[in-house]
């Protein structure tokens, strides 16, 4: 055997590296698809409010913890997560925490009736051309983004979110802000 010892070791190390890489890749939760937006400044947007009272800009909430939730009335998991959103909204109402809803691929009329029916009293915006969803890298509703007072997206949740995760995400950002 004329293969040098160093070459043999190099091959074994390369193989081990490949196995470890694949093992790490397969361990990842397929729902945790990391888009490019997490850890980066939240894409700015200005859009019409769903209730027709003018426009709303993300920059209006600079310095606050912002929870952006993409939803639609045709999305069953959105209805499933809605009670958690309502509870958390009531809990932080009037504080430094803001909740924003973004309508995902739906007509304004049906979104309005859904918002009313589900008791969503936080501001919601229409995203008729999908530009807000595309800029956040949304795959489909429901998706929730946690934006810190510094305007950076600190976290993202795909699928229906529960109260515990919402509060944990918000409190982590509030703690960071008071440091």
């Amino acid at each position: 055997m004329i293969l040098s010892r160093a070459l043999r070791i190099a091959i074994v190390v390369a193989m081990l590296g490949l196995v470890v890489t694949l093992a790490l890749a397969f361990r990842r939760d397929p729902h945790d698809i990391r888009t490019g937006t997490v850890g980066k400044p939240a894409p700015a947007f200005t859009a019409e409010r769903l209730d027709g009272t003018g426009t709303l800009s993300l920059s209006d909430y600079t310095g606050k913890v912002v929870v952006v939730n993409f939803f639609a009335s045709w999305c069953l998991p959105c209805a499933q997560e809605n009670p958690a959103l309502v509870h958390v909204y009531e809990r932080y109402r009037g504080s430094d925490v803001v909740m924003l809803g973004v309508v995902y691929q739906e007509s304004r009329d049906s979104a309005r009736s859904y918002v009313k029916r589900m008791g969503m009293s936080w501001p919601a915006i229409a995203d008729d051309d999908g530009r807000v969803a595309l800029s956040y890298g949304v795959f489909g509703p429901p998706e929730t983004f946690f934006i810190g007072p510094d305007g950076v997206i600190a976290g993202r949740h795909i699928g229906p979110i529960d109260e515990t995760k919402l509060i944990a995400g918000i409190e982590a950002l509030r703690r960071e802000a008071t440091r």
Partner: protein, 153 residues
Amino acid sequence: MRTRVVIAAALLAIAAALVLAARPHEATADERVDRITTELRCPVCQGLSVKDSPSETARQMRDLVAERVREGKTDAEIGAEFRAAYGDWVLLSPPITSWSGLVWLAPLAVVGAGFILASARIRGGTPARDAEPTAAQLAALRERVAREEAAEG
């Protein structure tokens, strides 16, 4: 003589046609939109490009690409906008420089390592010739052959 002139003229015409066909031409806006959306993955589909997908998300992405082309953005700038939102995942052919490039590099590395291993075995693995038998071994062998021949009659 005349035949040669005709053949030469025909060859010239073919060459001219090839040069004309191969000359670089500026892509139209629609061609650019098609080219860019062919390379983008539809986020809500199974392995379909944005160009081929009939989904609403893909339609919105096509509209956005068309708008960016009208604004004079380059293909790279438009691609970068989608990569910023969706990561390299949104490209149907991920760049080889990214982490996902491992998908392309790993098989090549494995094949290369296998090739090195196999060639080393072929070159160095030939069994050494046995040493020449000693006189005693030869004598014993001859004796055994003679014995077996005698036994066979």
